[in-house]
């Protein structure tokens, strides 16, 4: 487990010192929300339903950028080769990369929630606390998929185009469940009302964290 801690510590330290990824993610989440506010008339789209949708659009866009950053950064100057030479197995490397991009996404999401509350005239209330597990599950599932797929798309021509083409369709079930659960929670209903949707999110996360953990060794490594 020390290999996991070392790689995660490296990524977090790098981020603490430069702040590049999180700043980019927070700005992107903000801009997506701004675009939505202008694109959809506020007299039509308001309340928890619109806010939940906006939040998840921000999650998908910020997540795509964050995942490709976390992997692309390793492509520069042959960093990936250095990582692969470390005496760590590939699955541990995956777990560490997943943990890093997940924490960047959480920072961006916290900012996105704040902006959403302001832009969509929501209340700072207990509903936001029960929104947290929904978003954490969503971010975990997204980074699980994205870490695996970004390792693939980083090798392809025009990889930054390929990543959304692969991720978005695969993320559809979690997106549906996440938006529904967020709507339920934001509209003030008890958390248990969203149980079915939370179940789908948990299943999605378990499935793709496991799949990524087992399959990652096939997508990185000897060229």
């Amino acid at each position: 487990m020390s290999g996991f801690a070392a790689v995660l510590r490296k990524d977090l330290m790098l981020e603490m010192r430069s702040g590049r990824s999180t700043m980019a993610l927070v700005s992107l989440a903000l801009l997506v929300l701004v675009v939505l506010v202008f694109a959809i008339d506020s007299s039509v789209a308001r309340g928890p339903e619109a806010a939940a949708g906006a939040l998840w659009i921000a999650l998908v866009f910020a997540g795509m950028l964050g995942a490709s950053r976390a992997v692309l950064a390793e492509m520069e100057n042959g960093c990936l080769r250095g990582l692969l030479l470390c005496p760590i197995d590939r699955a541990t490397l995956y777990a560490a990369k997943l943990a890093a991009s997940f924490s960047f996404m959480i920072v961006a999401l916290a900012a996105a929630v704040l902006f959403t509350v302001l832009f969509f005239n929501l209340e700072f209330s207990g509903a936001l606390a029960s929104l947290a597990p929904v978003l954490i599950l969503g971010a975990l599932g997204f980074s699980a998929l994205a870490t695996l797929l970004a390792a693939i798309s980083a090798r392809a021509r025009g990889g930054e185009l390929l990543l959304p083409l692969l991720i978005v369709p695969l993320f559809v079930p979690a997106l549906i469940a996440g938006v529904r659960a967020s709507t339920v929670v934001l509209s003030g209903a008890p958390f248990s009302a969203a149980r079915g949707w939370i179940g789908i999110l948990v299943a999605f996360d378990v499935l793709f964290v496991t799949a990524g953990y087992l399959l990652f060794e096939h997508v990185v490594g000897e060229e």
């Binding site: 998929l145 695996l148 797929l149 693939i152 798309s153 090798r155 392809a156 021509r157 025009g158 990889g159 185009l161 390929l162 083409l165 692969l166 978005v168 369709p169 695969l170 559809v172 079930p173 979690a174 549906i176 469940a177 529904r180 079915g196 949707w197 789908i200 299943a203 999605f204 499935l207 793709f208 799949a211 399959l215 096939h218 997508v219 060229e223």
Partner: protein, 235 residues
């Protein structure tokens, strides 16, 4: 041997397809409520069957590729996904053509439609991956991994879309309740059509697969020739 199997399979496909066409357009009685449009059903369902079978084959080929290795499995996955995409597109088109007169709309976010569409998007991404990464040596591994991940996603998509549609109020009542296959001839026609499309699937798969195998062999031969030339020059 392979050549004979080719001809046999091609001939069987042709004959069964002609029989199916005759049954669909002439022999089977017209459905009472929906009229002539309902006949598209005999193409729609076999297309869906072929598409789903192909996507299943993509996942199986991916598992075997990662497990045993070998270009053969990658070629199988490549051939299967192309056929799957073709028939998945046909499912969406024939469904749309049927839905316009019957449901009054080309498209509705019914659970089956949505699931099929999401599958179409997923395997479209898989095809893009094959196209965009075809010059990297690991493209076969990448494709195998994405093929497996996509197959894992299918049950979650089905469950989430179903739950989404039952909770969301349906604008149109879109259950396909009662295709009304009361007449036994309808069932027979559907079965014959299914058989014809399965043969077509096998034939197309074989054609594309053997073409990919030939391409791989050609690459090997070209490398051997280049090596022989190099040795002759060095001697």
């Amino acid at each position: 041997m392979s050549k004979r199997l080719h001809n046999l399979l091609g001939g069987a496909t042709l004959v069964s397809m002609l029989v199916a066409l005759y049954m669909v357009f002439v022999w089977v009685p017209t459905e009472a409520d929906q009229g002539i449009v309902q006949r598209i059903f005999y193409f729609h369902v076999p297309c869906a069957w072929v598409a789903f079978a192909s996507f299943g084959l993509v996942a199986i080929a991916g598992i075997f590729y990662l497990w045993l290795g070998g270009q053969i499995w990658d070629d199988l996955g490549c051939a299967a996904v192309e056929i799957g995409m073709l028939f998945c597109t046909l499912v969406l088109i024939t469904g749309s053509l049927w839905a316009k007169p019957i449901w009054g709309t080309w498209w509705t976010w019914d659970s089956r439609l949505t699931t099929t569409f999401v599958l179409w998007l997923m395997y479209g991404g898989y095809l893009m991956l094959r196209a965009m990464a075809d010059d990297t040596p690991q493209v076969a591994k990448f494709a195998a991994v994405v093929g497996i991940v996509a197959a894992l996603d299918v049950p979650v998509v089905i469950v989430s879309v179903r739950l989404w549609r039952t909770i969301h109020p349906a604008v149109l009542v879109t259950r396909q309740g009662g295709h009304g296959l009361e007449d036994p001839r309808m069932v027979v026609t559907l079965l014959v059509s299914l058989a014809a499309f399965t043969l077509l699937f096998a034939w197309l798969l074989m054609l594309r697969f053997s073409e990919l195998r030939m391409r791989a062999r050609l690459g090997t031969v070209a490398r051997e020739i280049a090596l022989a030339r190099f040795r002759a020059g060095a001697a």
